[in-house]
Symmetry: C2
Subunit: 505 residues, 2 copies
Amino acid sequence: MFFQLDSDKMSAARLDKKKTLDLRKKHIGPSCKIFFSHDPIKIVQAKGQYMYDETGQRYLDCINNVAHVGHCHSDVVKAGAQQMELLNTNSRFLHDNLVQYAQKLQATLPDKLSVCYFVNSGSEANDLALRLAWQYTGHKDIITLENAYHGHVSSLIDISPYKFHQLSDAERNQFVHVAPSPDVYRGKYRADHPDPATAYADEVKGIIDKAHEKGGKIAAFIAESLQSCGGQVIPPAGYFQQVAEHVRKAGGIFISDEVQVGFGRVGTHFWAFQLQGEDFVPDIVTMGKPIGNGHPMSCVVTTREVAEAFMSSGMEYFNTFGGNPVSCAIGLAVLDVIEKEDLQGNALRVGGYLTSLLEKQKEKHLLIGDIRGCGLFVGVELVRDRLKLTPATAEAQEVIYQLKEEHVLLSADGPHRNVLKFKPPMCFTTEDADLVVEKIDLILTELENALGLKMHSISNVEKESSKRKPPIDENGHQHDDGLVQRKGSGQAAPQQTKQNKRLKS
Amino acid sequence: MFFQLDSDKMSAARLDKKKTLDLRKKHIGPSCKIFFSHDPIKIVQAKGQYMYDETGQRYLDCINNVAHVGHCHSDVVKAGAQQMELLNTNSRFLHDNLVQYAQKLQATLPDKLSVCYFVNSGSEANDLALRLAWQYTGHKDIITLENAYHGHVSSLIDISPYKFHQLSDAERNQFVHVAPSPDVYRGKYRADHPDPATAYADEVKGIIDKAHEKGGKIAAFIAESLQSCGGQVIPPAGYFQQVAEHVRKAGGIFISDEVQVGFGRVGTHFWAFQLQGEDFVPDIVTMGKPIGNGHPMSCVVTTREVAEAFMSSGMEYFNTFGGNPVSCAIGLAVLDVIEKEDLQGNALRVGGYLTSLLEKQKEKHLLIGDIRGCGLFVGVELVRDRLKLTPATAEAQEVIYQLKEEHVLLSADGPHRNVLKFKPPMCFTTEDADLVVEKIDLILTELENALGLKMHSISNVEKESSKRKPPIDENGHQHDDGLVQRKGSGQAAPQQTKQNKRLKS
């Protein structure tokens, strides 16, 4: 599908792609990775759930949760542009945008969460949450989840096993404790466990007890309300309540990281922590990515008690850009659009439709081990073996690469990089869902043919899977069964079959 | 001076001021301070070097270095608005704005500094600089300057004595070492020292030696190229070269924090570290505030060697908003305006003119102890006594408050909060300089009359001051001589005289 690029703005594609790539190699930190590194995409324009490359080729965007209300939404652009013309300054001056935005944001949260700090990124938000917790409790130890990712500043690398698993023990922070991910598909306690919520919460209790034995004191438990990079994990309901009870009993507080999953994405609720039940209220909520539809902004909301304790240190908190009138105008516009266009309702409806389509695919494709999600936050975990749960890492990468050739953007994540992640702009439609699932169906069919996987034994497999035991040392990095390393991609992928070639032509 | 508020956009003043203030108290973290807390200003519009309150009253802005090329500069607004309409996404896609901006920024720097990381704030930049230093050197210890401020995330509170001086020793980071501020007015080695640059650099050498004795290893020395919050301190030329030599010999690197002072503000050079001489090149430069004229963006630039070492850890660096096409379009526009309007030249000319006016005031007012600055980065240190250097903290606050009543925005900072800080938008004019200095003259005259300070002994004082010794325990918080605490302001201020009252009516 092609798009007429706005010719007035064709300065948007000024350099040829090779030149862009060469300059990038020269001047941008090599640790900053690019999508599809063997053949990256140059995007010059975007609208709604679609992105367009320099040739006008359209891509269906299933991954950019930051473009929450749709890429370049006109209401958001207008709000930002108008305010940029009027005033953009720091929050040491009084401004209505700041207080009206705080008020509107607060109205989406339980009453108790009433005090806001505006910052510039999810990382700044989570770092401030830690500072608040340390100051309020006077304690130092933090409990985080296995595979968690909370941001890129140094204090957050310390609490992000998704990042620090690469580090030696000596480089790890001794005040950080890692609890098992409450993953009922692949984790320590699974769907067949009578009460996984309690079992996982008891693990946290055990960590607290151990920390106490060593003289540690718990400042906070931090978790994404649904783990995103960690593999689209949906914790069992009741888990957070029990964890909060254990943590608060130890004098600590509960931080809900909603950077990836907040703002109506889960469909039934505005905040993902609310999936756990109305009786659960965290002490701090951090927000980020979707909050400004791409504009750099972010927020920490907490209770009056925590905020007063933070102030009592006597240390001022000043954030140069945080809460400036432009950011707040944009934030207000995003909230307005979510409401006006019923995007939370859309997430519920389209997310439900997408999940039902995927469930049908699971009946058809052995490679699909699990479908899990809420609203437009959906994970499809690919496995080589439904009993052993062998991660189908290479296959997941192949799906992603082939979808890209088909002009659909999807990504794979989780500790084994075998979970297809859906987190599209919230204006995603049922037609979009049909399109991407149809393409996944074709790609999986071909992959399964290449791997000799057939669905004939499905009923036995399903029976067996209810008796599953933890997989033994499956690291997801085996490249046998016709799988080869894709040149330059750094990722394993199946050998090209005829159909693969056709898909790419 | 009054201004016709743009009536189309009068939504800009939607709430009455009391309501804005009440909502702020309810919903914004109490640690987030406001200017002139006993009677804060509500700003609704700004242009160039002027800000306007909700009544249309104009204020001359001498403090907002963030609005670098002038508040709401039309080129910057246009660049941002146009790009917001087209595309705003992350840097995992190729985009010309990112690479062209990196290229243009690099061209302002020594060749060796060629690799950029785009982030969202000065704090994110300085935190990343520490991560780069730790990874490159494999060392952990950081040397920072007395009174330094490098940002609000937890790793930067650790290296900011301006902040952590409030903390107990137990709360301080044991890997952080504090070197004396190279302040030749009030510091350990002064203008009368034969070689203060070497003396201050030798202090750093001493710290390195002590750290080594205890088994420490130096990762980096970090300093603002000119200390800003620390009191507008201009380090003696040659200091950075010698420090860099000591630090590099110990296996560490040199980080120049240009967050406050970069982008041509110093007039003679684009970067303030260049004031030290062409033979000085830091290993990392961090940028912030002025880079996007208020848009939340920031950058770290380093050498290929440091960047490669960071990559070799295997850990990807991803920053959701950093380097997005809108931020880069804005950054490019800012660089273009600086060039097109010769704002660096303007900083040199107007800054020189401002400094010469202030020097004349120093001849007239005993309260002025020191004038120091480069371009449009100027500090005026107020003292009660030119021999003892007793900080005139309350007087500095009174100047600020009275200037506000006169619709001029200035601030006071430094460890004793007695340094008047000029860092206006770069379009500041000689007329603006005349206006603010004339008002300061009136205020100081009145203050000196109230305090009974006369200039009669000036020549003796000046003679004495060349034999100065370090002041004994001057904390700047004495409120005698008719000075009382201003109610609600939390700041000390002189009693109102008749003229004070007139100024405020």
